[in-house]
Symmetry: C2
Subunit: 361 residues, 2 copies
């Protein structure tokens, strides 16, 4: 039995997946996630990692490998990304002593921690690779679109391999492989500078009054349990509280704006966010069609926004067929695709053969 | 001798102006400002008001009137604006006992606190009125554009009177009289969703990584002393620190992006913010030209961004002549126009005749 653990340390959420493989077959998979905003609570990272690892490996035994990937190095708690990579790697090293720890780089290699620390920019923001690699289990040629709480990754897969063109976040932002928009934490002011309401345009406040989680809570696309981050005003998760945050984006409040109007504003932000994701997907798909001479590009949609953002945007961008990763696997796999992909990648590395998703998992 | 005090409680800054009038002539004016983010430190409002009032009336004597205006009621520390108006009015009442306190409404009337509390939405966000009224001292017909730390007010003046078309913030956002953008606190992600760099487009992160204060500090338009608010990452005000925040908006850092490129990104955000202000100004000017049948509309530029944003945008929008309020008055008057205007308005009310700016002040 081989036990591998994939850890994905994001700026706002830490995710973990533990995979047991027996005779080349995946036999069990557990996942866990915790909201941990690094810019506020970096010092909680060790305890979060401990709690999550005890959750996913209920009866603790030493894993054969822990593989690490991250995007948290971009958090402004760190002066620069190399400082972030250094801190996160050393935290994992300290929490998991005497275990073989590897760090994913943006070419899909599992580096030793020493090698990672020597070239920190190679391992910064590499979690998309694990997702793309996981997607290649299902389609030889496809685009994976993972709409998470904060960001959206778009990963091209061809000939059964990850064929990303950008490696750093900056390159990915240029090349339509990263859209910095997500289901929960995106400031509505970053989505649209004006909204339409009753055939009039209203400019939007630039404060951090409301975020996408408020829109999707109000529209009923996510549940209170999905809203795994702080609210901008520190208040609660009732629809009324979400609506009052959204009203504030046009400098109004819940007493002077009808609920119907607030819902209409929320729908406008939804449409704009959908368009932003669809637009990048379309450009990436065009590029892949040219490169590989194909008519249609299949899409695997995943992430917390799998359904109402990733899949909807893929349809809008003309990809087909559009398949939800949760329907191929499980809902938790969709929410933590990089951590799960990484656990499979690590197991494949140890076993010397590709370990596939098993429908019985 | 009549002593009037104008207080402008914003969401992020509290401003105060004390005016002495003798025989119908303004003889001295003192101003003060403190950064006080209400959403974090509402409980500091009483002490801030006390300190500021002792600063502007050095040898304390009882003012004949304290006039209050606010925009802080929009802060998300309050559930709704009426709660905000209520809290701010009661705080002022408690700090300044036994003084005639009036609250400015959006038609320019100085209401008693009781009347204000009965109709809180009339006094919410009325500070622009005081600025427009002050501008009408200099031009019978003009547009005042006040680019502050957080927002930009555009106030039409005609026939020597404030002729705003919007009264609530929502109406003003619709009618180009409020642009929620400013010199210091505007999240760069709310200004542009992508930036151009070396003939390529890069999507922008939606986090609160950097703000306009960082752009203008780096470009040399404001000094460290002007940067009177927190930085997004809690770090300092060196150009290098500002540059590192700006680099993060495209998910880069100061080690992987040249200073030249970061400056070029900063310039892009500057251009976009300028365009947003100019666009609203242009629409407002068009409307005024139609209403009043004039060819040219003069502009009074004011605020912390008087020079490089307000005046520049006015020129871009085709207004002429463009005059800086600080050149007509003083620099501190430009930075705190609503508080100063309100002190003059209160004095005019008490004296029963209009009290004008005096060049000797």
């Amino acid at each position: 039995m081989t036990l591998t653990i994939g850890i994905d340390v994001g700026g706002a959420n830490t995710k973990i997946a533990a995979l047991n493989v027996h005779r080349g077959r995946a036999v069990s998979l557990s996942t866990g996630i915790r909201y941990l905003p690094l810019w506020k609570k970096l010092s909680d990272l060790p305890s979060t990692l401990k709690i999550l690892s005890l959750e996913v490996v209920q009866k603790w035994r030493k894993p054969d490998m822990i593989a690490l990937t991250m995007t948290g190095e971009l958090s402004d708690i760190f002066r620069s990304k190399d400082e972030g990579v250094d801190t996160i790697c050393h935290t994992v090293l300290e929490v998991f002593r005497d275990i073989d720890i590897r760090v994913l780089d943006c070419s899909g290699r599992l580096l030793s921690v020493d090698d990672a620390l020597e070239d920190p920019y190679r391992v910064a923001a590499s979690n998309w690779y694990a997702s793309g690699w996981f997607a290649s289990q299902f389609f030889d040629l496809c685009i994976l679109v993972d709409v998470g709480s904060t960001t959206t990754s778009i990963v091209p897969v061809a000939m059964g391999e990850v064929k990303a063109e950008g490696f750093t976040d900056l390159e990915k932002l240029q090349l339509y492989e990263l859209v910095y928009t997500g289901v929960l934490r995106t400031n509505l002011a970053a989505i649209a500078s004006r909204v339409s309401l009753k055939d009039r345009w209203i400019n939007v406040s630039s404060e951090y009054f409301a975020q996408t989680g408020d829109v999707y809570l109000l529209l009923g696309f996510i549940s209170i349990e999905d809203y795994t981050c702080d609210t901008p005003d520190g208040r609660g998760l009732s629809k009324e509280e979400a609506a009052s945050r959204i009203a504030r984006t046009v400098c109004a409040d819940i007493k002077t704006l009808d609920m119907e109007d607030i819902i209409s504003i929320a729908r406008y932000f939804y449409r704009k966010q959908l368009e932003a994701i669809a637009s990048s997907l379309k450009r990436k798909a065009k590029r892949m069609k040219e490169c590989y001479g194909v008519e249609d590009i299949p899409c695997i949609a995943t992430g917390l926004g799998e359904d109402f953002l990733a899949a909807e945007a893929a349809v809008k961008a003309g990809l087909k067929p559009v398949v939800r990763l949760s329907s191929l696997t499980r809902r938790d796999v969709a929410i933590m695709t990089p951590a799960v992909g990484l656990a499979f990648l690590a197991a494949s590395y140890l076993e010397g053969r590709r370990i596939y998703w098993d429908p019985e998992l």
